[in-house]
């Protein structure tokens, strides 16, 4: 994750017009981003479908299932008992053809894939084969919507905390450059090489298995507490270890990264100038150091967030967190194809939304978007 010098995804900026207001420019920028993002998502989903089909392998599985199902149906039908073998096999073949037609398996995959794409875009994700939602629904959409909030809560809360925490920690650390704390952070920054779930195992061993102070996993106590305060407290208790695991993975590297940028920017002439003018160090930090580094920091954070989304299945698996990622793992274990594909589609959406939101924040803090200058950072 040494993508510290990443270029931000700025679009081709429209020719400069003097009378455009900053708001209009941001709106225009976002509109362009939205359109490209929609195309990106559609393309991404289509690729996902192509991969999911895996050269017709999934079709084969489904054809086999249909054949099995029809044969069972005919064999168990008392009305068919008296028919001859050839008659029965003809009925079976007819029904298979019908069923395949109904499910659209007779059309070539190239055409079918677009039907799948339309379904994926409209979140019409079909029915699960084994997994059910808590309310008993078999619709993949319901299953996904039910698990989504817990995933969002886990990753959303910890990441926002981590972003602001590391930003201000780095700011205060850049003041004491070369101190033992500073050197400790540099020494600890390679910890980002190991993923969050990995630290999770150590934390579970220490706090759950050995000290018995925090739960092994899950989201709330069993049975869940009745009143809301207890429920929230129980949830907080279960959140501690996952949050700590993510923090161990990121904190040192994020602080190190931010601090480096603060240090680079704090030796700029305009900062010296501001200091010479006699501004308070608080003002200098806020307006002259933090402000120009924000776009870079946000880009870094975006990549971090995307990396963490990608690791959700295993992270939730280790902590037994009842979110989307774990659902996907369970589905993979049960060969529940619709759920696997459905959760993958939702993850693609989540990533796209993350990228878009960060673009929006980026547009708000990056002066180049507001002014509409053509210069790019490199």
């Amino acid at each position: 994750m040494a993508e510290s010098t990443l270029e931000s995804p700025l679009p081709v900026v429209t020719p400069k017009k003097e009378h455009d207001s900053a708001l209009l420019r941001v709106a225009k920028y976002m509109a362009v981003r939205l359109v490209t993002m929609v195309f990106t998502v559609i393309l991404g989903l289509y690729l996902t479908i192509l991969i999911a089909n895996m050269g017709g392998y999934v079709d084969q599985i489904r054809r086999g299932e249909i054949r099995d199902f029809v044969q069972q149906q005919v064999r168990n039908d008392p009305g068919m008992k008296n028919l001859s073998a050839t008659q029965r096999s003809k009925i079976i073949e007819d029904r298979i053809v019908n069923a395949e037609k109904r499910l659209g398996l007779d059309r070539p995959f190239a055409i079918r894939s677009f039907a799948f794409l339309r379904n994926a875009v409209t979140l019409n994700l079909g029915f699960a084969e084994f997994i059910t939602a808590d309310n008993g629904s078999r619709m993949v959409k319901n299953i996904v919507l039910e698990r989504l909030p817990s995933t969002l809560m886990l990753f959303g809360m910890t990441n926002i905390l981590l972003f602001f925490g590391t930003l201000f920690a780095a700011l205060s650390l850049s003041r004491s450059y070369g101190s033992w704390l500073d050197r400790l952070i540099i020494a600890l920054s390679p910890m980002s090489a190991a993923p969050g779930w990995f630290y999770g195992i150590f934390l579970i061993v220490i706090f759950a298995a050995y000290l018995h102070v925090l739960p092994f996993g899950g989201m709330v106590d069993v049975p869940p507490p009745d009143n809301r305060v207890d429920y929230a407290l129980s949830m907080l208790k279960h959140l501690t270890l996952p949050a700590l695991a993510l923090a161990l993975n990121q904190v040192a590297f994020a602080i190190y990264n931010n601090r480096t940028f603060f240090l680079i920017y704090s030796s700029e002439d305009y900062v010296e100038m501001a200091k010479a003018k006699g501004l308070t160090s608080r003002d200098v930090e806020r307006k002259y150091i933090l402000r120009p580094t924000l776009p870079t920091n946000i880009t870094n954070f975006a990549f971090l967030l995307i990396g963490i989304w990608g690791g959700a299945p295993i992270f939730e698996g280790v902590f037994n967190w009842p979110g989307l990622g774990r659902t996907q793992l369970v589905a993979a274990g049960l060969f529940d194809t619709p759920v696997i594909v459905g959760t993958t589609v939702i993850f693609a959406y989540l990533l796209a939304i993350t990228v878009f939101l960060l673009d929006f924040v980026y547009a708000l803090v990056d002066p180049r978007v507001k002014i509409g200058s053509e210069s790019r950072s490199s």
Partner: protein, 446 residues
């Protein structure tokens, strides 16, 4: 050569890089040692072996070294086999019967009981099975009669399954009862020399009986055993070459292809560059692990398939933008212009003029990426997408957690592979971060 020496001189300024390099060299040496001493086929057959291979090892035994940290030692696993010349065995043939006397004395010094005690008999006969009478002599000289029975060609006697013996030992489990003081009934083994005596009668001239006593302790080997009695050392050893190969190949494959694509994109510019940029954006929103899960469940879990999939999904990753920014600068340099002037082809300029310039930037990238892929391999194994055959570190963690190692306090099972993974990851990361600081002058000053 001179540049290489300069590089090593510079890297030796960073203690973390030196430590990292030493660790990496150690890991490479360990991998080579593993592949040489425990060949692939042997490791696989051992790891997939059943009770026939692992009958002499205890279940979920802790590693030997935990005794270094304890005051009272936990019993070790040992076995005595008369067929291999241990103990004493005398035979006396008269009147058509062969009288056999076997004595297997052993020291038992732990205050804890063994996990299990079993005698494996083998005998040779044509028609009539030999008959044996088993006794144990305790250090106090007391004689405990165990059982008498006929022995087939292969016969296994497990102390723990003998209900009658348990009743005779005042209801104590036999593997404990024979080691404890039955007067005081303290749950503590009496240390001293025990002796297993087997008196046998065979009814044919060349008929004989051999016995192998296995006392299953609570510790075994340098890494302990798992729930299927397998020695964890095998997986710990073979995990190293697998992890290193996967990490290095994936990191190399990804960075090199990414670099070449970025070079081609910047050189040709125009729509080629545009297409590469758009693919990068699409790739950013493809859920990486989810797609690997799909490939693993629908298609194949083999490590090589996963390696190809991982590289294919990572080519258009964030790295392409870093390379692109650097190539844009190099593209404008005079020596590239000179190459163009003498009529060098596009391919030649990309491969001979652009790519070599970027290699110093590529190296830290590559080294930093290795642990990412080492951990990815472990992650895939832990979520059940690991190679079905290979014993790896991730598989140990998965099986440990899946079989309740954390709930039952068998921490060695999960922590040993985890610590080795951590050392591997950190060693590469420490070297990579130091290289980054050496090569990126912007970072060096701060």
């Amino acid at each position: 050569m001179n540049a290489l020496r300069k590089f090593f001189a510079e890297i030796s300024q960073y203690p973390s890089a030196v430590v990292g390099l030493i660790l990496i060299l150690g890991l490479v040496a360990f991998s080579i040692y593993t592949v040489v001493t425990l060949p692939y086929e042997e490791a696989i057959s051992l790891w997939r072996g059943d009770e026939n291979v692992w009958y002499k090892t205890p279940k979920t035994a802790q590693p030997k070294w935990i005794n270094w940290f304890r005051q009272d030692d936990v019993p070790e696993t040992f076995w005595l086999n008369t067929a291999e010349g241990q103990g004493t065995k005398t035979e006396e043939f008269s009147n058509g019967t062969n009288k056999i006397f076997i004595s297997l004395p052993f020291e038992y010094n732990s205050p804890y009981f063994p996990q299990e005690v079993t005698i494996y008999f083998t005998s040779q006969f044509t028609d009539k099975e030999p008959f044996v009478d088993v006794k144990v002599i305790t250090p106090t000289g007391e004689e405990i009669r165990i059982d008498s029975f006929a022995v087939g060609h292969k016969h296994t006697y497990r102390f723990s399954q003998d209900q009658k013996l348990q009743r005779r030992l005042k209801g104590n489990r036999p593997e404990q009862g024979i080691f404890m003081d039955l007067e005081t009934e303290q749950l503590q083994a009496v240390p001293g020399t025990y002796e297993l005596q087997i008196e046998g009668v065979a009814f044919e001239e060349n008929s004989t009986v051999d016995a192998e006593l296995v006392v299953y302790g609570e510790v075994y080997g340098w890494a302990g055993t798992d729930h299927r009695r397998r020695d964890i050392t095998i997986a710990l050893m073979w995990g190293a070459p697998v992890a290193l190969a996967f990490g290095l190949l994936a990191a190399l494959g990804t960075t090199v292809t990414t670099m070449i694509i970025a070079a081609a994109g910047t050189w040709y510019g125009g729509w080629v560059d545009e297409v590469i940029q758009r693919i990068t954006e699409v790739n950013l929103i493809l859920p990486f692990l989810s797609i690997l899960i799909m490939i693993g469940t629908f298609y194949s879990k083999s490590l090589s398939v996963m390696l190809v999939a991982v590289i294919a999904l990572s080519i258009f990753g964030g790295g392409i933008k870093i390379f692109r920014a650097n190539f844009l600068q190099i593209k404008e340099s005079p020596y590239v212009e000179a190459a163009r002037a003498y009529g060098a082809s596009d391919i030649r300029i990309i491969m001979r003029y652009l790519v070599p310039r970027i290699i110093p930037l590529l190296l830290p990238q590559l080294v930093i990426l290795v642990p990412t892929y080492v951990f990815l391999e472990a992650s895939l194994t832990i979520i059940g997408l690991g190679d079905p055959v290979l014993p790896t570190w991730g598989k140990l963690i998965r099986e440990g957690i899946g079989n309740g190692a954390l709930l039952q306090g068998q921490f060695y099972w999960v922590l040993q592979p985890a610590v080795i993974l951590l050392i591997t990851g950190l060693s590469f990361a420490m070297v990579g971060f130091s290289m980054d600081r050496i090569i990126n002058p912007k970072l060096r000053s701060v």
